[in-house]
């Protein structure tokens, strides 16, 4: 049994009186696209924040390919190969699309050269052009990222996550706020990526989840309610009750599975 790509052990996080993540024991195997779903406030984004180092845990550990990464600072976690996108899309608004990608690729290097002209770095330039093409953003390369449509910002964020050769991608609601067409593009991109990169995705859009996920974990109130393959999850009574909701929704789920 190979080492899980991401594993948490009794991971806990409290905010004052509220326990956002409660002694979480999660194990995510490599090579399978894993989706985390659950109602708002379940602790999904907090989990991502803990893994990526934006929050420090009150208890427990996080392991990345067997290595304890608990308590590492965000840039240290990033340098290990764990990249993430944010729930509220977050890029460098005043930099152009191409510069966003350029800076991201270059950030992985330990030493930021203070005197050599950035424009001379051909290797980085070529990678940027490649990712621009793959993301379909070449036409927007020189536009300030703050002027992009929501869907394009999301694609840029994913492009930024990719350009530094990630080992593990954490995508936080990547299709949130997207039009159906944009969602289709994003889903296609994610499916393509999943072939070479380990991906964990938080999603609310059930059609997306059931389309791309190999495994699903349902979180609620800081803990795991259920975990397993999509058909197991959709058949789970507790999940239906806690999350998928009322009997009317069951038909929707049936339709999605049988689609």
């Amino acid at each position: 049994m190979t080492e899980p790509v991401l594993r948490t052990e009794n991971l806990s996080k409290r905010f004052g009186g509220l326990t956002a993540v409660d002694r979480l024991n999660l194990s995510i195997p490599s090579g399978r696209l894993h989706a985390i779903i659950g109602p708002n406030g379940a602790g999904k984004t907090t989990l991502f924040n803990l893994v990526s180092g934006l929050l420090s845990a009150d208890g427990g550990h996080v392991f990345f390919r067997g290595r304890d990464i608990t308590g590492l600072k965000p840039h240290e976690v990033s340098r290990l190969g764990i990249k993430r996108t944010m729930q509220i899309k977050s890029v460098f608004a005043q930099l152009s699309v191409a510069e966003n990608l350029w800076v991201t690729r270059n950030a992985g290097k330990r030493f930021q050269h203070p005197l050599r002209a950035a424009a001379r770095d051909h290797e980085t330039r070529e990678r940027v052009e490649l990712v621009l093409e793959q993301s379909g953003l070449s036409a927007l390369a020189d536009r300030p990222a703050g002027t992009l449509s929501y869907g394009d910002v999301a694609l840029l964020e994913i492009g930024m996550a990719l350009i530094s050769d990630p080992e593990l991608l954490l995508l936080d609601e990547p299709t949130c706020g997207m039009s159906p067409a944009e969602t289709e593009r994003a889903v296609a991109r994610i499916k393509q990526l999943a072939r070479t990169v380990d991906i964990v995705i938080i999603e609310h859009d059930m059609s997306v989840v059931f389309e791309i996920a190999d495994d699903i974990t349902v979180m609620t109130q800081g803990g795991i309610l259920a975990s397993g393959r999509p058909d197991q999850i959709s058949g789970d009574e507790r999940v239906r009750e806690a999350y998928l909701g009322r009997p009317e929704d069951e038909d929707y789920v049936e339709d999605v599975i049988n689609a």
Binding site: F92, A93, A118
Partner: protein, 337 residues
């Protein structure tokens, strides 16, 4: 075709030619006194540039750069007056002192952001201001100390010294130009891009792997270097050093110059400093309340043109560039059948 790029280049060259010819041009047109005003403008531009590096490129508003200016200034003054150093060792002492204190205070200050960062930079500069005032025998307190000028260097029979107005001017010009060139290189470098990314979105910067604290500290030390050089030059220029130059008013004025000139642009500090010092020189002979103009302009610029003069200029260039590009496309479309 006058593209923005060409316009900028031409202006830069014209500016350079002007600066080099000042020691002959200005006495011929005006009055030799203005040569030393230009020299002073250059020194203070460098100081404003240190504020601009931190605020315009990294997003850290320091209201305490006068501290590093002061260390550069006192390094030279105390070096010459008390330690009997000659020109270059004293110059070096001033710069090293400024950089060291920038590193020490930066390690602490850069842990804070936003308002608290601004406040602590003022606090640090006040601590050393009061300290400098209290050790009056060494620093002369607010009254300051005067010192004799050591010659800069001697080659063969020629002795270059700040006592000679032309030599002083060119030395200052060369030093300031070198510092601005270094700044330009840094801004264009990967480090400079990292600065701007951190300014824009420091959480995102950390997530892509940038060590935000470390990079901010590097910028802080660089800014301290620039302020220290300007302080050292100032000491040689006036053969004078006084604790009053470490007070937060001095830092504040430089912030106004940098912002009015244009934060985040290379030439902003020069434009802003020139504007205010020229106003001061022109107005103060007739009206002693020119500080009113400084205050009013600070407020007006923040309300009406927060990008500053060079910022507005760059925007105009961009719009013009878009129009010429658009015009070029239109003609292209029209010529095609």
């Amino acid at each position: 075709m006058m593209t923005p790029h060409v316009i900028a280049r031409v202006m830069l060259i014209a500016f350079g030619v002007f600066l080099v010819s000042v020691p002959w041009l200005i006495p011929a047109l005006l009055n030799p006194f203005w040569v030393s005003v230009v020299a002073e403008i250059m020194i203070w531009s460098l100081f404003a540039a240190s504020v601009n590096l931190l605020f315009g490129y990294v997003g850290l508003l320091s209201f305490g750069q006068a501290l590093y200016f002061g260390f550069g200034m006192y390094g030279v003054a105390i070096g010459v007056a008390t330690l009997g150093l000659s020109f270059w060792p004293a110059f070096g002492l001033g710069i090293v002192a400024a950089v060291v204190i920038a590193l020490v205070s930066g390690i602490l200050a850069v842990r804070l952001t936003w308002h608290y960062f601004a406040i602590i930079t003022v606090v640090f500069s006040l601590i050393f201001y009061f300290f400098a005032v209290s050790v009056k025998p060494l620093t002369g307190g607010d009254d300051g100390i005067n010192f004799a000028l050591p010659p800069t260097f001697s080659i063969g029979g020629y002795t270059g010294s700040f006592g000679d107005a032309s030599f002083q001017y060119f030395f200052i010009l060369a030093t300031v130009a070198l510092c601005f060139f270094l700044m330009h290189r840094v801004i264009q470098s990967p480090l400079g891009k990292a600065f701007v990314a951190i300014r824009d979105n420091d959480v995102r910067a950390a997530l892509i792997g940038l060590n935000v604290y470390q990079i901010r500290l590097i910028a802080f030390v660089m800014a301290g270097f620039l302020a220290g050089v300007s302080g050292a030059l100032f000491a040689f220029f006036g053969r004078y050093a006084s604790a009053s130059y470490m007070f937060y008013h001095v830092s504040g004025e430089a912030v106004v110059w940098a912002i009015v000139g244009g934060a985040g642009t290379l030439f902003g500090p020069i434009v802003g400093t020139t504007l205010f010092i020229v106003i001061r020189e022109l107005v103060s002979t007739h009206w002693e309340h020119h500080a009113l103009i400084v205050g009013a302009m600070a407020i007006l610029v923040v309300i009406l043109a927060p990008k500053g003069l060079v910022g507005l200029w760059n925007e105009w260039l961009l719009r013009r560039g878009a129009r010429t590009a658009g015009a070029a496309v239109k003609t292209k479309l029209q010529t095609e059948p």
